[in-house]
């Protein structure tokens, strides 16, 4: 399941269309919709920007069960990069010392409930879980 997208920033329009269809199908609210868009864009653009290997398409999958939305991205034939081990950004630094780098992953970590990273056969797989019940509580 899922859909493959060209490893290029210009794929974002098609990716957002894919997300919108998923959101409409499951009638998810605006907050969950925003989170899915943010998480998928940040993880996808991270794979594009740092291009740690081949230019194969990236697989994006969206699933829902009773409690969760499960977002998956697979980057094929690349070097490993475990974003769960990336250090947090110090968001208390004064303006002159702030940098934009790393903010996306920093925010993703705060927006979702679980992030898992797997590396096997030169493929990087990221799975993100957003809990719907906790969100609605």
């Amino acid at each position: 399941m899922g859909k493959k997208f060209k490893k290029d920033i210009t794929s974002l329009d098609l990716i957002f269309d894919y997300i919108n269809t998923f959101v409409s199908t499951w009638q998810l609210d605006a907050s969950i919709s925003f989170s899915i868009r943010f998480v998928v864009e940040e993880l996808f653009t991270n794979m594009v920007k740092y291009n740690r290997g081949a230019m194969n398409d990236i697989l994006i999958s969206l699933k829902k069960n009773n409690q969760n939305v499960i977002i998956g991205l697979v980057d094929y034939d690349v070097e490993p990069f475990d974003l769960t081990k990336v250090a947090d950004v110090d968001i208390t630094k004064p303006l002159e010392f702030r940098r934009a780098g790393g903010l996306g992953i920093h925010i993703v970590k705060r927006m979702v409930d679980q992030i898992h990273y797997e590396y096997e056969n030169r493929n990087s797989k990221i799975t993100v879980i957003k809990n719907l019940e906790q969100h609605n509580a």
Partner: protein
């Protein structure tokens, strides 16, 4: 798709979706700002870290000459993103 426009009262009006594919378009406007300005988010539906980066770079550049951006009318989801990023500490937001 992002739209960036200047209103009659000098506000920068953002509308649509400020994602990574819209950075160059946004920079073409924000790089021209030379004095304190208000950015109106009323019609902005979405922003990612790429958009935050454009705002941060503009704020840093303006700050060097004692100028700054004020951000108004954010929706709750965008406001949450700004708070997660600590941008509530470096921007005036109302």
């Amino acid at each position: 798709m992002l739209d960036v426009a200047l209103s009659d009262n000098g506000e920068i009006l953002l509308s649509g979706r400020f994602d990574a594919s819209q950075v160059e378009k946004a920079k073409s406007i924000f790089n021209q700002i030379e004095k304190s300005s208000t950015v109106n988010f009323k019609n902005l539906d979405y922003i990612s870290s790429a958009g935050l980066g454009v705002l941060l770079m503009t704020q840093k550049r303006l700050n060097e000459s004692g100028q700054r951006l004020k951000l108004i009318n954010m929706n709750k989801h965008i406001s949450d993103v700004f708070n997660y990023a600590g941008f509530n500490l470096i921007f005036e937001i109302e």
